[in-house]
Assembly symmetry: C2
DNA sequence: CGTATCCTCAAACGATCGTTTGAACCATTC
DNA sequence: GAATGGTTCAAACGATCGTTTGAGGATACG
C-alpha cells in the first residue's frame, strides 16, 4: 500500500508538470510514466483512465487551495472590520502560496489550461469542486460593495478572476528578477494584484 | 487560383472553429478537412504542415485586429484631449468587434488557448505580430498615467490583458441573455471592461 | 492538339496514441 | 509452505495521428 501510494503520488506529480508544459492532450502517458519512473500500465491500474488521472491531478491541489482559501476567509470574518483588501488577500494569497509551495508550482498553469479547455465534463468537475468557494467569496464581496448591482458584481468578479488567473499562471511578461528573493517577489505580486483588483472592484 | 483560395479559406475557417473547440492538439486534420469539405492532403499542400496552418489561422485575424486597434489609436491621437477610457476603448472594442464580426467569433477563444499553450515557437510568432501594437498602447498608457513607475505600469497592463482575454474569450459566467440584442450586449461588455480596467490602472 | 501548371484525390506510410492482457513478483495470512 | 490479493512489468492491441505519394482532373497557353 505504501509503495502503491508512492506510485500514485509520483504519477500525479509528473502528470501535473507535464500537463502544465504540454497540455492534457499533448502529454502522453508514455512521457508521463517515463518521467515518473513507473510502468506505462500503472496509470490505468491506479486511475482507470487518463481522464480520471486529469481529474485527480486537479483534486489533489484544489482540495488544498479550497481549504486554505476558506480558512483565510474564516479568519478575517472574525475580525472587527473587514476591508475589500482583506477578502482579496484571502482569495489571492493561498493561490500564490500554492504556486510556490511543495511542488505545486505548476498547478496554476494547469488550472489556466483547464479554463482554456472548454471540455464540459472537466468544467463540471471544476464547478463542483470550486463553486461553493466562489459563492462564499461572492457573498463577502457583495457585503463590502453594497453599491453594486448583482450583475455588475458578477462582471467584476469575473474580470478579477481573469486577471488573477493570467498573473498566477505566469502568462505575463513579468518575471522574477534574479536579485529579488522568491518570497519578496511573491509578496510584490500579491500587492500588485490586490491593489489592482480592489480598485477595479470599487470602480465608480 | 480562385478555387484554391476558396479551399484555403475553407480550411482556415474550419480550423479556427475546431481549434477553439478542441485545441490545437485535440483537433485532427481529418476532422478539420471533413468539416471544411476538402481533401485530407489539402492542408499539407496549401500550408505545408499543421503547425504552419496554426500560424496562418492566427495571422488572418491578428492582421485584422492589429489594423483596427492601431487605426483606433491613431484616431483618438488626433483628438484634443485623450482620456484613459479612450485608449482602453481603442484597445478593447476592436477585439470585441472581431469576436462578433465576419465569422471571427471564435478567434478570441483560439487566442486564449494560445496564451495557455506555452509553446515557444507560437509565442514567438505572436510576439512578432503583436509586439509593436502593445508597445504603442503602452506608450499611451504611460503618458496618461505619469504617476506610475515602469514596473507598476507593466504589471497593470498585464493584469488588464488577463481580464480582457478572460472576458473576451467567453470563459466567464456572464452570458448574453435572450432578451438583450447582441449589439447592446457587446456595448455593455465594452463598458464593463473599460470601467473596470480604467479603475484598476488608476489604482492609488 | 499538346504541354505545362495548379490542384484534388484515394491510398498508404510509419509513428504514436490510450488501453488491455497475462505472467511475474511480493508481502501477508492461514 | 501454500495460497491470496495487491502491484508491477513487458508486450501487444486496435485506433488514430500528421505526412507523403503518385495518379488523375482541370484550366490556360503555345
Amino acid at each position: 500500500m505504501n509503495s502503491s501510494a508512492s506510485t500514485k503520488e509520483r504519477i500525479l506529480t509528473a502528470a501535473e508538470a507535464l500537463f502544465a508544459q504540454r497540455g492534457f492532450e499533448g502529454a502522453s502517458l508514455r512521457q508521463l510514466t517515463a518521467a515518473a519512473g513507473v510502468n506505462l500500465a500503472a496509470v490505468n491500474y491506479h486511475f482507470g483512465s487518463k481522464d480520471h488521472l486529469v481529474e485527480q491531478v486537479f483534486k489533489r491541489r484544489l482540495d488544498q487551495l479550497n481549504a486554505r482559501r476558506l480558512g483565510a476567509l474564516k479568519h478575517i470574518a472574525g475580525l472587527q472590520e473587514t476591508t475589500l483588501e482583506d477578502v482579496l488577500s484571502a482569495f489571492i494569497r493561498p493561490a500564490l502560496d500554492l504556486s510556490h509551495d511543495g511542488g505545486g508550482g505548476l498547478f496554476m498553469r494547469v488550472l489556466a489550461r483547464a479554463f482554456a479547455e472548454h471540455d464540459d465534463s472537466l468544467r463540471k468537475f471544476l464547478s463542483e469542486n470550486y463553486g461553493h468557494v466562489m459563492r462564499q467569496f461572492t457573498v463577502e464581496f457583495a457585503r463590502l460593495l453594497p453599491g453594486l448591482s448583482k450583475e455588475e458584481l458578477y462582471w467584476r468578479i469575473d474580470l478579477v478572476t481573469g486577471a488573477l488567473t493570467h498573473a498566477m499562471s505566469g502568462f505575463g511578461i513579468i518575471q522574477r528578477k534574479s536579485d529579488v528573493s522568491e518570497t519578496s517577489h511573491r509578496e510584490q505580486t500579491a500587492e500588485h494584484l490586490i491593489r489592482f483588483a480592489a480598485a477595479g472592484l470599487r470602480a465608480p
